[in-house]
Subunit: 425 residues, 2 copies
């Protein structure tokens, strides 16, 4: 069953999709296992530089006024009839994880350019300026801090602190930014836009499973990451009676099963929980593990539920420590609060989808996005489009159809046009 | 509280301990992490060859008649007044795991030589011959089959099959045996001894925890090893709702927790169970594991209980497959039946300990030993002595005191003397 098709699409779907394919050629590689074409444009790599220059050339072809700020964020401005008014901003990122597809981030940026292209073609003028932006190092794979550029622009992260981040080879972010020619002159602190909009692939299976065209993103979940080191006692699996063991692997397994039980209890709202890493040492069939490295990933759209889950999990660690005679050391490796997007913008997105005959539903963002940084300084919102193959992302199999991409950018176009022509919310 | 000391020790404790230290110099290395001295004498390595030649020289110094069979097992015979009678055999092994101490196996062999040395000193003659033996590749670390030499000698494993085993570098066991000069001429099938005795370090914490001097080994547990491959669906930990997951790591954790629950149920007798390896892929904090390699190690002194535990575990795999939407593939990587040692020999061992004022208790062998191979062809038994540090073994920290070693060999001496002077059981 194909997705329903919009009959009133304002943008050129073929042109949009073609631009995604063109940008996807930069940093292209062939996945050894599957033979699929993947994309690798790590932040501030030579490939990122090449991708940036391509997108800049398109921005200039569209007659936009391009500025590069001191953290390498790029803003392309189409003026309005009232250039004194705050602009409507459309943004995302074009850096990628090492094993990416060609949609993550790029759809938001190139979709923004397609919107401008459509406005230009029609000679449509707007009251407010429109800015299409891409932000430095959204993925955080190389320097360890995601949403870096938008965090600096909106004041969460200091410029010098960002400059001093280093990659695994010890290379400094500030130096790498200069090396690719994107250490700009413009003030890194962005003036608050009138509104910020971002279109992105869902990176999850929900829309695809329900065959829904448009996800109206309600917000971004709170994230809590823990790294656990569990210390037990390495022992011979044959010779050690059960009551004399301190099995670090069993302790980790109990925590993993407890995460599932917490979710089943219903006491923690829309909690998601994952133990992605369990690494027992020495990891041999006949040795009771004496040490385990493990991770816990908690997500929750509610900060209150998140805090309750964290507290109750720590209490469970105490219980496991005592029952299994192990020591559980944990440290927080990431922690962000939940972000709620503008209800008014969500409403407009839903209406625009409705008007185009597109099915839609509210959805929480599972991953982090630049929009959550802008939500601190202006009304912000996101549009999700479905991805094939259970919405797999950060993988060469990441794939959304031309129609799916066009649907999302069409909705963005409609909402942007409203916002850009109004004086106040 | 020190272990009680025997007041009637028949053997020279200092001399025995000194021989263990001398043999422990061969293959000695310094553990990088702890700075402790370890031993590495992998089967049929140059170090194993050197160790064998040292022990052979001691056997010849004692006037023993040495034969080497076609699988490299070494038998050193002290004749009896009735050389036509089947000998009493004392044996074990001198090959080691890569990270060994100096007691595992060596105590049984050098203890046998200390018994002969004591008999010689006193000019004691016995009715039956006494044979001290060491067997090829008991550990199985290099060629993948443990108790190899004794299995060939007692008919469980064919000679040609053993010859054709290869190590990780593709080297053939038969060639390696020849290379170190231990491809002997004697028939590999051993004539059934009158009885077989083996003294060994416990390799577990039981005797140490209870401060018991002597373990009277009742038998060897049945062993069942499984390698599991669990196939789920790799997915984004933030974007994938719980009900759309197929978490291979959670499936493995549930199996691990179930093993514990089975033991707690009491339905499986003296079952021991361990998941020593859990390796989720890709093993990242924010990815639901799509694949896990794991192992299950089951031990049970009862074959009936073992079979029930295997059946019930397979039924649980079915349940987990259906509930977690994963596929669980498993293969048996080892399976041995339980072995019961001679009750009469156990009785004699207990009495000998008692007579020497040594505390003793029945104990099941957690690991495999050459004695279990001989149990098929003659009355066999084992004496365990405690090890320090929870009985840690296969580790440079493996340690038994001079007194602990001497206690075990003293008991062996007493039982051997009885057996070697009787005509029938």
């Amino acid at each position: 069953m194909p997705n329903s098709k919009t009959t009133t699409c304002q943008i050129n779907a073929t042109r949009l999709y073609s631009s995604l394919e063109t940008l996807g050629q930069i940093g292209r590689y062939t996945d050894a296992e599957t033979g699929l074409q993947g994309v690798c444009r790590l932040a501030l790599s030579a490939e990122d530089g090449e991708g940036r220059r391509l997108v800049l050339s398109w921005m200039r072809e569209l007659g936009l006024e391009v500025t590069v700020d001191r953290i390498g964020n790029v803003y392309a401005r189409r003026s309005g009839l009232r250039p004194d008014l705050a602009p409507v901003m459309v943004g995302s990122h074009i850096d990628s994880v090492p094993t990416a597809g060609r949609f993550d981030g790029c759809l938001g940026v190139l979709g923004g350019l397609e919107i401008v292209r459509t406005l230009n073609e029609r000679g449509t003028e707007t009251q407010r300026p429109v800015v299409v932006a891409f932000f430095t190092d959204e993925e955080g794979c190389r320097f360890g801090t995601d949403m870096l550029g938008s965090a600096v622009a909106t004041g969460r992260l200091a410029l010098e602190q960002a400059y001093d981040l280093r990659d695994r080879e010890g290379l400094r972010l500030g130096d790498e930014l200069e090396k690719i020619g994107f250490l700009g002159q413009a003030d890194e602190k962005v003036a608050a836009p009138y509104a910020y909009l971002e279109c992105h692939v869902e990176q999850g299976p929900i829309l695809g499973a329900k065959r829904v065209d448009i996800g109206v993103v309600t917000g971004v979940q709170a994230i809590s990451w823990q790294a656990l080191t569990i210390l037990g006692k390495s022992a011979h699996a044959g010779a050690t009676p059960m009551n004399l063991r301190a099995d670090a692997g069993l302790a980790a397994s109990r925590i993993n099963v407890q995460l599932r039980a917490m979710i089943a209890s219903g006491e923690y709202g829309e909690m998601r929980a994952t133990m992605g890493c369990i690494a027992p040492q020495p990891g041999l069939v006949n040795i009771v593990p004496g040490r385990v490295e493990a991770t816990v990933d908690l997500r929750n759209p509610s900060d209150l539920h998140m805090r309750k889950s964290e507290q109750d999990l720590l209490a469970f660690y105490e219980q496991v420590q005592s029952e299994e005679k192990v020591e559980i050391r944990w440290r927080q490796t990431a922690r962000t609060e939940a972000v709620a997007f503008s209800p008014s913008l969500q409403q407009r997105i839903a209406e625009a989808a409705q008007g185009a005959g597109l099915s839609h539903q509210p959805i929480i963002a599972g991953a982090g996005h630049d929009a959550q940084e802008f939500a601190r300084i202006c009304p912000s919102a996101m549009v999700f489009v479905p991805g094939e193959y259970d919405g797999i992302s950060h993988n060469p199999r990441e794939f959304s159809t031309q129609q799916q991409c066009a649907n999302g950018i069409h909705v963005m176009f409609e909402v942007l046009l409203q916002l850009a022509n109004e004086i106040a919310f």
